[in-house]
Structure formats: C-alpha cells, structure tokens
C-alpha cells in the first residue's frame, strides 16, 4: 500500500506520496494563505485523482494540522520527529540537520543522543522573516537571493529578532546602502540567529543537511551557512518534503480512503471557539454614521489645487512611506503625496519636486523643512532649509488642527508617538521602544503575507463577525497568535479585525501604559497613516470610550507640521533645489569603514550632484570632520579612562597571573579586585575592550538567547581571556552588591549576581584554566577577608588571612578612591554647567553601560548635542534614603532612583534612562523612575539598547527631549 504524508505548516502545505519501497511518487507544495483545511483538502483531492480509488497509510504533521488531524481521524506526527524519521530513511549519513520553515528554525543533532533545538517563543530569522525583509526592500525573495550574490560588504543586522532586524535594515535602506549588501546582510543575520540562538554551545559539524523552503529556494542562504560553518552542507532531493515524508513513514500511519479524507478535511471546522471580541460594527448603518462623523470632524484644513505665490514645502521621509506637501500663505494644503519609500526616499522626493515645479510653475518656495528617518539625507540631497524633529513636526501639525488638543497619538510605519499636552506645552512624550511592532508596517506586512493589499485587508475587518484576540505583544508573538487562530479556523476577516485590536492595545497598554482613558484628556487627535484604517480608528474609540478626531490628512501630518515650521522660520527664500538643478541631479552611494576610533563604524557615503556629501552609519561626528569642537564633558568617557589604570592585557613577569573579564559588575569592581590580587602577589590581566567581534567570539556558548546583551558579552570576554593563558580566571558570583544604605536590601539582579555560574557550566574553554567562581560579597568589610580565603581555597589558592586582610584594606581604598574620583568629577562638571549655562543629562544605567559596545556611543550623542553627561552613580550619593513606591532592594537600581531624585532638584538637569533589552528588572524601575521625575514636573526619557541599536531613533528621542525642555 502507498503511504501519504501531509505537512501543514505556518505558511504552506506540503504533501508526499510514497511507494511501499519508499520512492516518492507524488509531491506538492503550496502556500495556504491561512486557508489551511481548504488547501489541504485541495491537495488531497488531487492525490485522489492521481491515485483513483486507492487506500493509503496516512499521517498529518506540521503545527497547523495538530487539531485537524485528530478531527479527520488520522494520526498526528510531531514535525521534528517526522524530519528525523525521514532523515533516518533517506540520508542516514547526516550528523546535523538545519531546517528552516516559514516561522520556525530547527537544528537536529543526530550524532549520539538525539537533541533538538527549536526556536523559542521569541525568535526571528525564519522564512517569514526573509519574506518580511524582502517586502521591506520591495523585491521578491528570490530577487533578494540573486541580489545577495552581488554584495561587497556585510552590515551587522541584529539577528535575535525579526523586529529588531527590521529596525536595522530600515535605516540602511534609508541611508542608501546598496541593495546587494543589505540582501546579503539579511541572510547572514538569519545564519547568525540560527547558530547563535539554537546551537547554544554545541558544535554544528559533520555532514550537515539543509531542509525546508528557505534553504531549498535561497542559494545564498545556503552559501552563508556554508561559509559561517566552514563546511559544505548537503541539500538533499525532496528537501521541501522531509516532514511530509517522515509523516508518511510513521509507523502509526492509518489506512484511509484518500477521497474520503479529502472530503472530511474540507468539512473540517474547528470546534474550539477562539477568543473573540465584539464585532467592530454591528451594522452598515452604524459604520455609515461613524464614517460621516469622522468625515466632518476631520475636515478642518482646506485643500487647494491652485496655490499661488509663496508656498512652503514640508517633507516627511518616514520609515516606510514618504509624505510631502506644500502650504500656501493661508495655510491651505496643496499637492499632497503619500507613497511607499521602496527602500530609498531620494528618487521619490526628486520626482515629487519635479512634478511640483511642472504642475505649478508660478509658485515660489519660500521655505522648506524635512522631518522623519530620512531627514538628514533628504536635507543634504535637496538643500532643504530646515531639519525638524519628528515629534515637534507632529505636535505642530496637531496643534494647528485643534488648538485645544490634550493628547496626540500618531501611529506611523515604525513609530508610535504620543504626547500629552498641558498648558499649551508638551508635558509627556511616549514613544514605542526599540520594538516597532504594532505599527503600520506591521499591519502592512501581515496583509502582504496573507495575500492582500493593505486597504482591502483593513476593510475586511469592519464587519468581521468575531474578531480574534491576538494579544498585544511583539510581531513574533503575533505570528504565533495568528497561527493559533488559523489553526482554530479563524477567517481572514476576523484576523484582520484582530490585528487592528492588537495595534490599538499595543499603543494604549504598552506604549502609553494607559490604565485610565481619562488620563488622555478629552481632545484627542489621532494621526499617522495607520489611522487611515477605519478599523483601527474604531477600535481606538471603543477601547478608550472617547470620540477622537482624525484629520482628513492623517497620514500627512508630519509633512504638514514640517511645512508649518518652514513657514514660521522662513527668511523669505529657500535653498531647496530648483527645477533646473533637478535635471542634473545625481546620487551615488559608496560603503567605507571609518578608522577614526575603535568603533570601526561602517559608513555609507552618499554623493550628490555638485559634490554634496552625506555620510551615514557614524556613531560620532568625527568622520563628518565638523569643526564643532567645543569641549566635551562626558563622565562616561572619564569613567572608562579611570578604569584604564587598572587594565592591562599582558602579564609582565614571573608572578602567577589572574585574568578578570571586563564585563557586567567588573566595570565597577575592577579597581577592587585588581588591587586585591596585585597586593597578594599576582599579575592581573583583563579582557580587551568589548567589540561586536568579541561578542561573536563567545556567541556560540550563550545558553539563553533572551538574556541581556551585557550578559551575552561575558562569553566573548572569557574566550579572549582564556587565549591569554592566565593561571586563574577570577569571576565570582555575588548575591549582594555594596550596601549604600539606600534601600531595604542591596542585591544584585539575578543575572549580574550569578552569571559566573552560567559561564562555568557553558563555556568549555574555561577548563583550560582554573576558574575561580565561588560566592563572595564585599559588602561586609569586616568578614570579607575570611570569606575570600575560604572561597579561593576551594580553587586551590592558599592565601594567608593576614595577607588578605592587608590587601583588602588597599582594595577597599582603591574602590573608594575610584568612586570618589567619579563623584568629584561630576561636581566639577556640574560647576562648569553652572558657569557656562549648559544642560545636564544624567544618562542613568548600570556601571556596565559605560561600555561603548553596550551604549553604542549614546553618551557621545548627548554630549554632541551640547549637554554635560553624568552617570547615575556620580550623583546618587547626593540624595539620602527616601521612600519609594517599589521595593528598593537592588544597589544599582537604588542609585537610579536617587539619581532621578537628584535631577528633580536641579533645573538644568534631566535624566535619560538606558535600558538593556531583556532587563526584566527595568519593568519595575522604569515606572518608578518616571514617577519620581514626573511628580516633580520633569520629563522621563527612556532608551532601549541591545546588541544593535538604531541610533537614528535614539537621536529623535534625544532631540525631542531637548526641543521640549527648551
């Protein structure tokens, strides 16, 4: 009897029919566009036609068929297990299998005990991710593949999560990086994600088998895996169908009549009622009333098609769309444009200007301003007069539209920007954190993946009978939630409506953290392209219980604001390129590496006609060769230089050598341990400065892909130390931190406290040395020496208590001296700020945030904006113990609260909190810090940082802060 296997995955249905001897007689592969049972039934009918009247031994596999299988009466085979079955039968020589699917990634280690690694709850780097990236670049996936072969350089793209990668890719596109290079970089990001996220310390070697859609279709992806793994993997015949074949081969397979199975599958309706919300509209009439109300209330700006005389140009080069318009002297809008940016905003703006000049030869541009992600490049390319911070542009537009506005919420392609207005000024800004989910591009991508254009997709939502609840988290979670809904048989209408609900909930509960709609006030303006969807608008009104106003030009408000500001600042003429200049306009792009400092930034140099240059990708102003240099007051730099006194990468003499990794809490404790060991007669060496390369060096031993980046870096530091062959490596666990008397306890966070235990268990190369990693505290100065003796004794060190006591005295003195130097320097900077009337920004993080690889040069950004930069620990001692509305039990975080308190006492000071992605403690601290600041009338600003951080977004945030506190 022939065997039949069906593999219904997140995006496709695969089918295989095998002869009794295991020969593949028939196979089929098609996208199901979330119509899983229909598509499966179709495939089955075709099988029935090909093999009329035949009975077969059948099984289903794949995540989307889990419940369907039971319902139609065939066994379900877990898909990884199915892969293994097929590999055993077809390629028994394989040692390792790498299988990428629509939304999952797996590595199977077949040698020895079978071990399987699947991507966890949080993971990108899969087929869907590649599709999303291709969409972002406006090409098909296979074009992306062929493009990649023309690459010259690889950019680093965050590989940990699709959402992050997207925020990396977007600026690359906007800055005009070559498509070929971006394409190749995307594939390498997938490879890094798979290896870094899944291998977790286990070597990928032997005969490697590539399976699944992406690896079958994308040659460059295989090439990137080969290159990274230093092997040449095998793409077996039928690489798409291994799961289906494995299902067919399953011993549990049951005899079925295929046409009967097709019929049952077609009739399959999920019984389990998904979690549903109320329909958005109960009737067409209700929708009509809604539509009319908004048509009226949104119509406050006149649009003219015959502008005359002086006009002002506003451009909003956003993350996914480019918007442009002009306003005339009376504020009427003319010639609006709203168009996808297709990866490069420059030609779009050129075309816009060209047609503007052609259509309206009589106008005279008296001022021009640009805002958005592409602000700098457009400004340089077209000699625009003004660059405007996005937040200010949007606020200006909304205020013009509705002077009494209390709250503005703008959901764009990648950003959510919300402002609370009090007494005619911005009182509070909420921006989405590093995560860009729940924005317009998210809806757009989903629509595309499900096979619809954005508009049709949104209109489907309006009368969905039972919108599904998809939660309000990141895109990756949404993908699985949609998957679940599809499995439960939800139709496309309900999914579309459910996504609209998610977008709104994400904005309200995650970004604004709004627990009470009354906090939003009564005059709410909603804008941004995403609100063009009536579904999103409806959900927003229902969720808040408020009637809001959506300007008719909701998607153009950024450009409108820019135009208004251009008008305000106009000197009567504009430098913007004229019709003649545009005719000879050229734009070329080159990629280079900057050698200005150890950051080695990869730069893209854009050259325009007339030699005008625009450089992107830089972290500081150095490569721009600006002569701005007023003196910088940056305590981050000072602290790093203080630590340099304790750093030495080579041992000098015959003494035994102790290596210390310069990571996590060592950024504060190095002076202590260095002095202690030196006084005890050791040579102390440290690991080198962090770089991304160093991170990659240790990446393969990281057991948890969701731990914070500072912790991940520890692995690279240890690898680098081991290479230097020290006699010992010292990195102790510390439940407790120093006690500065600010809270009820003085813990370290779990990660800082116990990371030595993680590396001890997961970094095999540490076996080459003696790794001293016991438990110790330095908070009790009296008993420290005795505990240190017994702790080190376990690692074979025989130290005399008296010696340790003496050395400890010096060590404490060194630690105290270090902290004092930092605090004295802060006082000096504060005095300078007073004298020279400079802004003060306390860039508050943890000690390890001074690592430039962790902070990505944000301290430099702040000081480039002309502010004095202080650290949290340089001012926290100025405030005594005070009650907090959280349990104040971690030393580092107690400093954060104290620093916030200090900032409230100094008018010129503001606080910016650095938050490492994945730092769970900051879910507690950020609300408290915000509360301390806002209760004193200060703005709270938070910057989320990770392996890779989009400095463009950080800049916007910082510039917004500075613009508001002016």
């Amino acid at each position: 009897m022939n065997r039949l296997g069906i593999d219904a995955g997140s995006t496709t249905v695969k089918c295989a029919v095998l002869s009794p001897s295991g020969k593949v007689l028939f196979s089929d592969y098609r996208r199901h566009k979330s119509k899983i049972s229909e598509t499966t039934a179709q495939v089955l009918s075709e099988v029935a036609e090909k093999f009329p009247g035949e009975k077969m031994l059948a099984s289903f596999s794949g995540s989307a068929s889990m419940e369907m299988a039971g319902d139609v009466g065939v066994p379900f085979v877990q898909e990884v297990y199915a892969t293994k079955k097929a590999v055993d039968a077809l390629c028994p020589q394989a040692d390792t299998v790498i299988e990428l699917g629509g939304e999952d990634a797996k590595i199977l280690f077949l040698r020895g005990a079978l071990e399987v690694r699947m991507n966890g709850t949080c993971a990108g780097g899969t087929g869907a991710f590649i599709d999303q990236m291709a969409k972002l670049m406006d090409v098909e996936s296979d074009t992306l593949d062929s493009l990649a072969f023309g690459s010259e350089k690889i950019y680093s793209i965050a590989s940990r999560c699709g959402v992050f990668a997207k925020t990396d890719v977007q600026p690359l596109i906007n800055q005009g990086a070559r498509k070929e290079d971006v394409a190749a970089s995307i594939f390498y990001a997938v490879v890094n994600q798979t290896i870094g996220g899944l291998a977790q310390g286990r070597e990928v070697g032997g005969t490697v088998l590539y399976l699944g859609g992406p690896l079958t279709f994308l040659k460059y992806l295989r090439h990137a895996f080969d290159k990274t793994l230093g092997t040449s993997g095998v793409l077996p015949e039928n690489s798409l169908f291994f799961v289906a074949i494995g299902a067919a081969l399953s011993p549990q397979s049951m005899e079925v009549d295929v046409s009967e199975l097709a019929r049952k599958t077609k009739e399959y309706k999920n019984s389990a009622a998904g979690r549903a919300c109320k329909p958005l509209f109960s009737s067409k009439e209700e929708y009509e009333r809604f539509r009319i109300r908004h048509a009226q209330s949104g119509d406050r700006i006149a649009i003219t098609d015959s502008p005359k005389g002086k006009v002002y140009l506003g451009i909003d080069a956003g993350s996914t769309t480019v918007k442009a318009l002009v306003v005339d002297e009376d504020g009427n809008v003319c010639f609006p444009m709203y168009t996808p940016n297709s990866g490069n905003p420059v030609p779009i703006v050129r075309d816009y200007l060209t047609s503007l000049y052609e259509r309206f030869p009589d106008i005279y541009i008296a001022g021009a301003a640009v805002t958005g992600y592409g602000e700098s490049i457009i400004k340089a390319a077209f000699k625009i007069d003004e660059g405007v911070v996005e937040t200010i542009a949007h606020y200006t537009a909304a205020k013009k539209f509705m002077p009494e506005v209390d709250f503005i919420i703008d959901i764009g392609g990648q950003d959510i920007k919300c402002f609370r207005i009090k007494n005619g000024a911005i009182d509070s800004i909420f921006l989405n954190e590093a995560c860009s989910s729940g924005c317009g591009s998210f809806l757009q991508t989903f629509a595309a993946v499900l096979g619809y254009d954005e508009k049709t997709f949104a209109s489907l939502a309006l009368f969905a009978p039972a919108p599904i609840d998809l939660g309000s988290r990141c895109t990756v979670f949404m993908n699985s939630a949609v998957k679940q809904a599809q499995k439960d048989g939800a139709n496309i209408e309900d999914i579309s409506a459910g996504l609209a609900v998610s977008v709104v909930k994400n904005a309200l509960y995650k970004v604004i953290r709004c627990t009470n709609p009354d906090l939003l006030g009564n005059n709410i303006v909603v804008q941004g392209g995403t609100f063009n969807s009536d579904a999103v608008l409806r959900v927003f009104e229902r969720e808040t219980g408020k009637e809001v106003v959506r300007p008719a030009i909701a998607g153009l408000m950024g450009a409108y604001g820019a135009a208004l500001i251009a008008k305000q600042k106009s000197k009567g003429f504009s430098t913007v390129l004229g019709a003649e200049d545009l005719k000879t306009f050229t734009h070329s792009v080159k990629a280079i590496t900057c050698h200005g400092c150890e950051n080695r930034c990869r730069l893209t140099v854009n050259t325009f006609a007339g030699g005008e240059k625009y450089i992107a990708g830089n972290r500081c102003e150095k490569p721009l060769a600006l002569k701005t240099q007023t003196k910088k007051y940056d305590l981050y730099e000072y602290k790093l230089s203080l630590l340099d006194a304790f750093r030495s990468e080579t041992a000098s003499g015959s003494k035994p050598v102790v290596g210390i990794p310069l990571a996590l809490n060592m950024y504060e404790l190095l002076p202590f341990w260095h002095t202690l060991f030196t006084r005890l007669g050791f040579d102390v060496i440290t690991s080198p400065r962090s770089t991304h390369k160093l991170f990659v060096k240790g990446q393969h031993t990281i057991p948890s892909d969701t731990v914070c980046y500072p912790a991940k870096l520890v692995h690279g530091h240890l690898e680098a130390l081991v290479e230097k062959n020290p006699d010992y490596i010292f990195y102790p666990s510390m439940s407790y931190n120093v006690d500065e008397g600010k809270g009820v306890n003085h813990y370290n966070c779990p990660v800082v406290a116990y990371y030595p235990e993680v590396v001890a268990a997961n970094v095999p190369s540490l076996k080459k040395t003696t790794f001293i990693h016991g438990f110790i505290g330095i908070h009790d100065r009296k008993t420290f020496a005795a505990h240190f003796c017994s702790m080190t004794e376990k690692s074979g060190l025989k130290l005399k208590l008296a010696d340790v006591k003496k050395a400890a005295k010096d060590a404490y003195a060194a630690y105290d001296g270090f902290m004092k130097a930092v605090r004295d320097k802060a006082d000096e900077f504060l005095a300078v700020a007073e004298k020279e009337d400079l802004r003060v920004v306390v860039l508050a993080g943890r000690p390890y945030h001074i690592d430039p690889e962790i902070n990505h040069g944000i301290d430099k950004l702040v000081s480039d904006l002309g502010a004095v930069v202080l650290t949290e620990d340089s001012v926290s001692h100025k405030v005594g113990k005070f009650p907090t509305s959280v349990l104040n039990q971690w030393t580092y975080h107690a400093r954060l609260y104290a620093a916030a308190k200090f900032v409230t006492t100094l008018k010129r000071a503001n606080l910016v909190q650095l938050v490492s992605f994945g730092c769970g403690v900051d879910a507690v601290t950020s609300d408290e810090t915000r509360a301390i600041l806002e209760n004193a009338g200060k703005l709270y600003t938070q910057i989320k940082i990770d392996e890779i951080t989009n400095l463009g977004a950080v800049k916007i945030r910082l510039r917004s802060l500075f613009a508001v506190i002016k």
Binding site: S63, M118, T706, E757, G774, V886, G920, V921
Partner: protein, 430 residues
C-alpha cells in the same frame, strides 16, 4: 497594638496598612497559587480569626485585567496572580471597602518581591487605593499591624502544605490510571473536606493524628481501581507559580493527561526548605549574623520533621514513588549549580530535574515565565550540566506568557513525547 501610621503615601501611591480593626470584618483575598494546597493552608489562617478567600477566577478576563494594570514586561505570574485579585475587585462579588489583598513575598533578589507594590500601583490607577495590601513573608520586608504570623501559625501552615503535597503526589500517580472516572477527584474532595473540618477543631495538625490521616489518605488512593496501561512518565519543574497553576501554564496537567502521560511535580515543602536553607547558606558565604537566622533554623527543623512524617507514612506503600528527602536534593543540587544561587527557584530547580531523572522521570518539562530573570541562570544556564550528568535526559523548556500561543507550547511537548515514546519502544524491543 499600635495601628498608627496606618497609611503612608509615596509618589502619590498610598500604602494602606491592614489594621487590627480590619481583621474583624475584612476578607483577605488570596490568588490561587497552589491549587491543591491553598484551600488547606487557608483553613489554618482562618483558625487565627482571619477571613480569607482563595480566588478561583480563570480565563482571559483575568489575564486581561492583569495586562491592563501591570507593566506588560513584568513576569507572567504577576499578570496572572494580581490579575485575579484586581478582577475580584471589579467583579462586584466583593465589597471593595471590606477586602484586603495578600501576596507572598520571599524578599529575594528577583522581581517577584515587588508584586506587593505592583498591586498598590494598580489599585491607585483603578481608584481603589483604599484597599490594603498584605505581605505574607518570613522576613521583615513589610509589616502589617493587623496581620501577625506566629511561629505556631507557620508550623501549622507547613503541615497543611504537606497534606497538599501528599495529596498531589498520590493524585499524580493514580489519576492517569483510574478506572472509574472521578474516583480520584472524590478522594481529593473528601480529604479536603475532612481535613478542613479537623483543622477547624484544631485537630490533625500535630502528633499521631497526622500519621493517622496520612496513612488513611494513602490507603484511599491505594484502593482506587486502576487500569493496566503504560503511560509516559513526565516530570514538571519550573517557576513556583507557573508549574502549579493551570491559569499560568495553560492547563498543562490536563494536556499531559490527554497525551497518555503520568506526571510528577515536586512538592511545595521542598521550596520552603530551600528558602530556609538559603538563609543559613547566607551565613556561611557572606557572614550574615547568626542571630538573624533563628527563624530559618526553626523553620528548617520543623520542615525536616514534617517531611519525615510524610516519608515514614509512605514507606509502607512501595507502589508509590515518594518524594526525595531534602537532604538528598541538596546533594543533587551541589552537582548541578552553586548553592549560593538563591534567587527565584535558584539551585533547587536543576536539583529537582536531577531528582526526577533519578526517579525514572527522564522527560522533564521546565515551565518558566517568559523573560524570567533567574531562569537564565537556573534553567537555561544549567541545562548543559544536566545533559552532561544525565545523557538520557529529555528536557523540554516551555515559556509561558500572555502572548505565547498554546499551540506552540503543546507542539514542543509533543516533540518531547515523540522522542520519549521512541525510546520506550526501543527499550521494549531490547
């Protein structure tokens, strides 16, 4: 009793203390943390004159309430357990002016010690900041004038917990095999009722009556008619809330039952012993003064005695796998993770995985809230050590979260089970 300063306010967030007057007519609402155990423990608290209700609300409405009022990046147990309490206030089932909320506070270095304040902030935002929030803890992180935990109360509470452990242990070993559906549940119901009544009469918590009860419970379970079927043995460890609570783990037990599994979840007593033990370890590692440790020492010795009572009772019934004595768990812990790791489930978690594997539960699910900080260390960080020590280990880490989908979770468990079944078949063939 000094009830002054009954209210303080920080950052506009009120901290209303539970006063001795409130003890008379306020109902204390507890989240459903240990479904089998809590009803019994609550009975002990009631003996001391408090009105207590264990909340049983489940489903999306609870999670949504949690998400609306608690920072969404907080760990999932915070969303679930505070969600239940906040939902209770909104439900209309209680007079908000006559209730107090209670949360367990370990005072440890993980975020869970902050649940109390999360509740207060949520109450503030709900406009219900008059509701007092109590801390149930063994150290002095928070105090409420009207709520006093006495050593006797702890002793009795621990005993109640152990009854829960015993019932859970037996239930897990009998339920998958019961012939007449409902037989096991009726024993559980019977004993919850019997013990509750005994406790009300101040009986069944000390001495011979405990032994008598325990034997009777075991007898009852031993007498259940069983099917002669083979089940896959699965161990469950993890974060203390998620591993026990069906609300937190998407009905994990029911799913495992539906997949022909017998599962073992280590008891709650071990966690308490671990906490007492940590305080003593603190003295060894950091020189924490001994005088602050007398409570932990008394607790540890009480727990040891209670543990022995249960183990003794189980000795005569070799058909039931008994819990591993804590002393042995400690030894296993020393092989898997440094004993100074004391935040969250700390060293106990890998020790429990080792315990389960040594008991023959090779397939272990590690249930964790997504983004749990100690999880990076004690679960993901220690997995490699476990695999090296126990090459047969079939580990399956599952993240739970408001946004995580059930289909993915179940799919991963199915993979673990497929591998387990293959192994079973191989063994059957050899």
């Amino acid at each position: 009793m000094n009830d002054s300063n009954a209210t303080e306010s920080i950052n506009g967030i009120r901290n209303v203390k539970f006063t001795s007057q409130m003890k008379k007519d306020y109902t204390i609402l507890a989240p459903d943390i240990f479904p089998t155990h809590l009803p019994l423990v609550v009975e002990v608290v009631r003996m001391y004159g408090y009105k207590v209700d264990v909340l049983r609300y489940t489903g999306k409405k609870v999670i949504d309430t949690g998400l609306a009022y608690v920072h969404n990046d907080m760990c999932y147990p915070a969303i679930c357990s505070t969600g239940q309490q906040l939902y209770a206030l909104k439900s209309g089932d209680y007079d908000p002016h006559k209730v107090a909320l209670i949360q367990f506070q370990t005072g440890g270095g993980c975020r869970a010690s902050n649940y109390i304040w999360l509740l207060r902030k949520a109450l503030h935002n709900m406009g219900m900041d008059f509701v007092p929030v109590l801390s149930l803890s063994f150290n002095k992180t928070e105090r409420s004038p009207g709520f006093r935990i006495t050593p006797m109360m702890i002793a009795k509470g621990l005993m109640a917990l152990v009854y829960g452990d015993l019932i859970m242990l037996l239930k897990n070993q009998v339920l998958p095999y019961e012939k007449n559906k409902g037989a096991v549940q009726s024993i559980i119901d019977k004993w919850t009722k019997t013990l509750t009544e005994q406790f009300r009469r101040n009986k069944g918590l000390v001495g011979a009556s405990v032994r008598k009860n325990m034997r009777a419970i075991i007898e009852d379970f031993a007498a259940v008619e069983k099917l002669n079927v083979k089940k896959t043995k699965v161990g469950v460890v993890g974060e203390i809330y998620v591993k026990y609570s069906p609300l937190g783990n998407n009905g994990l037990e029911d799913f495992l039952l539906s997949q022909d599994c017998e599962f073992m979840v280590p008891g709650v007593l071990g966690f308490f012993q671990y906490m007492f033990d940590n305080m003593i370890t603190d003295h060894e590692l950091y020189g924490t003064p001994l005088k602050s440790l007398w409570g932990a020492r008394i607790g540890a010795s009480m727990a040891r005695r209670i543990e022995k009572t249960m183990l003794d009772a189980l000795k005569d019934y070799p058909q039931f796998a008994a819990p591993t004595p804590f002393a042995r768990i400690r030894e296993l812990g020393d092989k898997t993770l440094g004993r100074g790791v004391k935040m969250g489930e700390g060293w106990l978690l890998p020790a429990e995985i080792a315990e389960l594997i040594e008991k023959g539960y090779d397939n272990v699910i590690c249930a964790q809230p997504f983004g749990c900080l100690p999880n990076h260390i004690v679960a993901k960080g220690a997995a490699r050590t476990i695999r090296e020590l126990y090459p047969t280990a079939n580990l399956c880490p599952i993240d739970y979260d408001a946004g995580a989908s059930k289909v993915n979770q179940e799919n991963r468990i199915k993979l673990m089970l497929a591998i387990a079944k293959e192994k079973e078949n191989e063994q059957a063939r050899n």
